[in-house]
Symmetry: C2
Subunit: 705 residues, 2 copies
């Protein structure tokens, strides 16, 4: 029996999703963009964002082209005896790779395009009240959310329908990852270059408020929100989403005996992750409509309620699809339900991790209060405090991930672990929507200020903005947790692939083996280096930005009095050029390191390298996100009038914390996710090539036995 027809449900869901995305886009674009000044500012932002994305996509196109060539020639070059097969070409994966990158770029572009136009409309809508402002921002964000999920599900189901081989999906996933790597790193560097630069001079030296139009970097700062937080985050979650489905598909296709029934059941388990993700999309759709209907008093609560609702609906829908599948697979009914339990466990742990992230970053909770209090003792102490709590905050989510993994493994083996990741990411439509909502409000607030819409409107926009921050605290932890579980699943599928492709190779990631240990060692270090490189990039670029802003203020004093406009384009150019230049090295690092480890020390060392990078990447991602979030909120807590309030030494110290935290939480921390996925996929996709070296033992590996 052919289960492929079940994919129709998913395809329909995907198409509905894209149609709705376009519908919401039209709906938002029909709104009043506000007064002339607002349109002008919004125009600057849109133009700046487009310029960046265009240049970025050009560089990305070259990158994709080079990797396409590598993909065409390298992966499938070995036979069962690990000998070269001359002339073997890998068309399928290459085409899927290009489609995957195009899909991710397209979704990102659409989402951002609407985002940069939604901001001024949201600002204008705020004049008509909170609910109206919320709606415009929310549906602006939903465009990105739905485009991501729609493009991913359509891509996967169509490709799998045409070529029912999960290895082709691997190409698609790798394409999504390449885009995410660029979008996340580049966007992350861009947004913090502008933000940190603007703050360091504007706020700290000239006492300008946030988003003040006199600040030459204010537009670049707004552009950054769009390219970093909307396009970057969207492509990051697109990446994890596809990778989680892929990992489960690969495992279902390769595992020898995890199901009890006929060979046909295998097919059911291969498409089960797609089906469940489709259910997640339906759940997200329902929750989006629920939020649309609902009167919004507390927008932060609305967003979170949407998340819980999507979770609840997913549990029901996923149960239904499990019921259907369980009726079809003879002999494996129980396994279907176990897998269902795995997805629930994954989703639950995702929400738990989100909550814990919120505990460590919310200014109503103890850790952030302590960080705020530490600011009373100066710049150094607030740094030490945030640093320490950030590190400590790693433990609870790590235990959450470990428990989810253990439970899922106990229920359904490595396939179960992959399905837990699928479960965690099932409601990604809602997560991306909530995430993209944030920068739209943030921009709207700035535009309201620049368009002189008055105190009342700014306060409304502020309320929306802070709701975005509340939601973000949860979605960010969620994204990291989901990516982590996904790369763990990819690690398992990598291991299975090695054993399938090179059955003669003793593939054991035994840490007693020195090659394996060295692989793990370098794996542990890479995320740290990667995070440091990105942080340094931001610091270096922000320095350039600082000098440019100072130059403008010094050379033209009329900018500060507001009589002449600042030269926004110079600042935009600095952020754009800097971000693109700086992302090259980390990108190459993330592709080359796994290849080099594999070639030198062999497949088992490469597996251990991935494992090491996953574990330490988790530590750094959570630490940097939570420390950054905590510093940010500690500063806001003080700005709300606590501990002396604005302008005090305590406040200045808190600003230092926030500035350190900016690249932590918005550049380095979240980019680590992408790094891990890219490295895992690189290892899997180029496995055939790697196995050529020393018969899978690596060039040096055979000396270390």
């Amino acid at each position: 029996m052919d289960y492929l027809y079940l994919l129709i449900i998913v395809l329909i869901a995907g198409i509905i999703s894209i149609i709705l995305a376009l519908y919401f886009a039209r709906m938002v674009l029909k709104e009043d963009p506000g007064n002339e000044k607002m349109v002008e500012v919004s125009g600057y932002i849109a133009e700046g964002a487009k310029t960046f994305v265009k240049v970025q996509y050009k560089v990305l196109a070259i990158f994709v082209l080079v990797l396409s060539a590598a993909l065409l020639f390298l992966p499938s070059m070995v036979d069962q005896n690990l000998r070269l097969i001359p002339g073997a070409l890998n068309w399928e994966q290459m085409v899927a790779y290009i489609v995957g990158s195009a899909a991710s770029m397209g979704a990102g572009y659409l989402g951002m395009e609407v985002g940069v136009k939604a901001n001024t409309r949201a600002a204008q809508a705020c004049t008509k009240g909170l609910k109206k402002g919320f709606d415009v921002s929310f549906f602006g964000g939903a465009v990105m959310g739905l485009a991501v999920v729609g493009a991913a599900l359509i891509g996967i189901s169509v490709i799998y329908w045409v070529l029912p081989d999960p290895n082709v999906i691997l190409g698609f996933s790798f394409g999504a990852s390449s885009v995410a790597l660029f979008a996340k790193c580049g966007g992350g560097i861009y947004t913090k270059t502008a933000d940190v630069g603007a703050d360091l001079v504007g706020k700290a030296e000239y006492d300008l408020p946030e988003d003040d139009p006199r600040n030459p970097a204010s537009i670049a700062d707004n552009v950054g929100d769009n390219v970093g937080d909307i396009a970057g985050m969207g492509s990051d979650l697109f990446d994890s989403y596809v990778a989680s489905i892929l990992a489960a598909m690969l495992l279902a296709a390769i595992l020898s005996s995890f199901f009890a029934g006929t060979g046909e059941n295998r097919q059911a388990f291969i498409i089960l992750p797609i089906l469940l993700s489709g259910m997640g999309l339906f759940a997200s759709l329902v929750s989006i409509f629920y939020i649309k209907k609902k009167k919004t008093e507390d927008p932060g609560k609305s967003l979170n309620n949407g998340t819980y609702m999507a979770t609840g609906i997913f549990i029901v829908f996923a149960g239904l699809i499990s019921l259907i599948v369980s009726l079809i697979v003879k002999g494996d009914e129980l396994l279907v339900w176990k897998v269902y339990a795995c997805t629930i466990a994954g989703l639950a742990s995702g929400i738990l991790i989100g909550f814990i992230g919120n505990y460590y970053t919310n200014d109503e909770k103890k850790p952030t209060r302590k960080v705020a209090e530490a600011a009373q003792e100066g710049h150094a102490v607030v740094i030490l405090s945030g640093f320490s709590y950030g590190l400590i905050s790693v433990a609870p989510p790590a235990i959450g991930i470990a428990v989810a993994m253990a439970v899922a493994y106990w229920l359904a083996g490595v396939y179960g672990v992959a399905m837990a990741a699928v479960g965690m990411l099932s409601i990604v439509g809602t997560i991306v929507t909530n995430d993209a909502y944030g920068p739209i409000c943030d921009n709207a607030r700035g535009i309201a200020e620049q368009g002189d819409l008055g105190e009342e409107v700014i306060r409304t926009a502020d309320k929306l903005d802070s709701a975005g921050n509340t939601a973000k605290a949860i979605t960010k932890g969620f994204a990291i947790g989901a990516a982590n579980l996904t790369v763990l699943a990819l690690l398992f599928s990598f291991s299975q692939e090695v054993q399938a492709e090179a059955p003669a190779l003793a593939y054991v990631m035994d840490l007693q083996n020195v090659s394996v240990l060295i692989g793990a060692f370098i794996g542990v270090i890479v995320p740290a280096i990667f995070a440091a490189l990105l942080t340094l990039s931001v610091q270096r670029n922000a320095g350039k930005m600082v000098r440019e802003i100072r130059r403008q203020f010094e050379e033209n004093p009329k900018i500060l009095t507001g009589d002449e406009a600042a030269d926004f384009n110079k600042c935009i150019a600095i952020a754009t050029k800097g971000a693109l230049k700086e992302l090259i090295f980390p990108s190459i690092l993330s592709i080359l390191t796994p290849l080099v480890i594999g070639m030198l020390f062999g497949a088992a060392a490469l597996g251990a390298f991935l494992a090491g990078s996953i574990l330490s990447g988790f530590v750094f991602a959570i630490f940097m996100s939570n420390a950054g979030g905590s510093w940010d909120n500690a500063k806001k807590y003080i700005e709300d009038g606590n501990l002396g309030g604005k302008g005090t030494e305590t406040h200045k110290a808190a600003i230092t914390g926030d500035t350190v935290g900016d690249p932590f939480k918005d550049t380095a921390g979240p980019s680590i996710n992408t790094l891990l996925v890219v490295m895992s996929l690189t290892a899997t996709i180029f496995l055939g090539f790697i196995l050529l070296f020393g018969g899978g033992m690596g060039l040096l590996g055979e000396f270390l036995l």
Copy 2:
């Protein structure tokens, strides 16, 4: 043939070492302690240090007692079938444990006792010139260096002579580790509580210079140098030193077929690490006498020359002993020379790591210059810069360790890796001497100031102090590298012990196994949490100190004018109480975590836990030490008049960096070494107990297969 008689050489070396330590102690104590004021200050410091050490040793005694009981009953409770053997008592290890802790405490006490008396004498000697001042400080430090090595070698050789079983040495080593854990964590918290507290109020708020006697925390600061940097660092290296020898002994005793000759050859390889360490002691002695003879123009160079000299002499002496051993072991001549090469490789990589540490922290090199320049852009940027370079600085030494490990493994297997660690630590006498020299000069400088010895003398003391910092840059990296290679060796010996004790257990640290993966995950996290807890302890205590200093200044304005003495004892009490209170939790954590992991997830997961903690511990230790060192030197670079010099905003930002770096480099970073050794030894020593749970699979492990 009985090789034990060769140990006589080592025993003699050890006894000479102790005699010399006592001789140097007398020599230093005979020096003129200076004027009344100096004697008074020095008396305060000595008293403060003694009080702390006494209270610490009391707490430590209870800790040792509890662990002795655990050691007596728990370790050897299982038979080959992993069943409980009722009534089996483990007297030997327990006694060795108590002897080990007593030896470490004794060496630490002697070294510190002389250190606190050498300071005032060094200050007075500075009035007679640089060379005289250098000599007093250097021989004051040599007391600690020689006491450490002497006590360790006498302990090991006597115990092994009486009971020729490396497992008994395991008890001795565990004793040394227990002391190191307390001394390093407690001392580290103490010294930075006082230092950070004194700086935050004295320097930042009241513009007092360093070591100003009006600062109520100035004495506590000096005490801290002694208990943290002398006693703490000494016990840390004592710990690594013994553990490296132990790891090699255990491996030689347990490995089935690494030597080719008769069974008697095994004995030779068991004592070879002791013999080589003895040669290292001789090398250190010669280098100490060389420095004594030499005229000192540039004290920093003298110290480093001493290190290179000790290295060179060790290579010769170790070659001689290898020649002797190779003449005795029939059939294994080549292996002896391979092992010799391993020790050289280890030592070379240690020196390399030291140099790299110097590159990343020296203000004449690019990274620290960049950090100093970043200070021009404010508090936040200097933090970001130091943080990033600190992380990046992890890569080169990691590659150094990986290469040393790979080469040693290629030459002589896991035994070779252990011998590389032995080689790296062979010249520990010189390293500890150079290290203990630093705080003596640092104190001397303060006492010269407080005793009004005049500008000229203070400048001389300053020169000596900065030489200590130069030497420290190298010795610190050395200590971390050595500890890391040691714990890697301990990991291998743990694995061998498991396989010997539970041959039926499938002991494979395969990261595909979920139990093993969870073990590694928690292992990666523990050093981060540990570092955070210690940093937070310092921050918390320093906060108390800050409030106390402010209180004194506010309640009695005469303190600031210098008309009345500050209440030093209050500050000393805060540092003492705080340090002891705060070290309890991390200590318990380091003993309990490996036990819990082993009990829940089994021996293989425990091995992976150790591996994970070693790898991530290395990252955090190097990162924190180098970031801290770089901030420190960036600040000094600015204080030397660069980038605007003292009093500028740039300088203030650099002070922030330094203050953040203080607990990084002197508390958390170096304590991680000790944590790793303690955890590794805990796992090995309580292995019998751990194997009782789930037949070595752990209580949960069997569900995760």
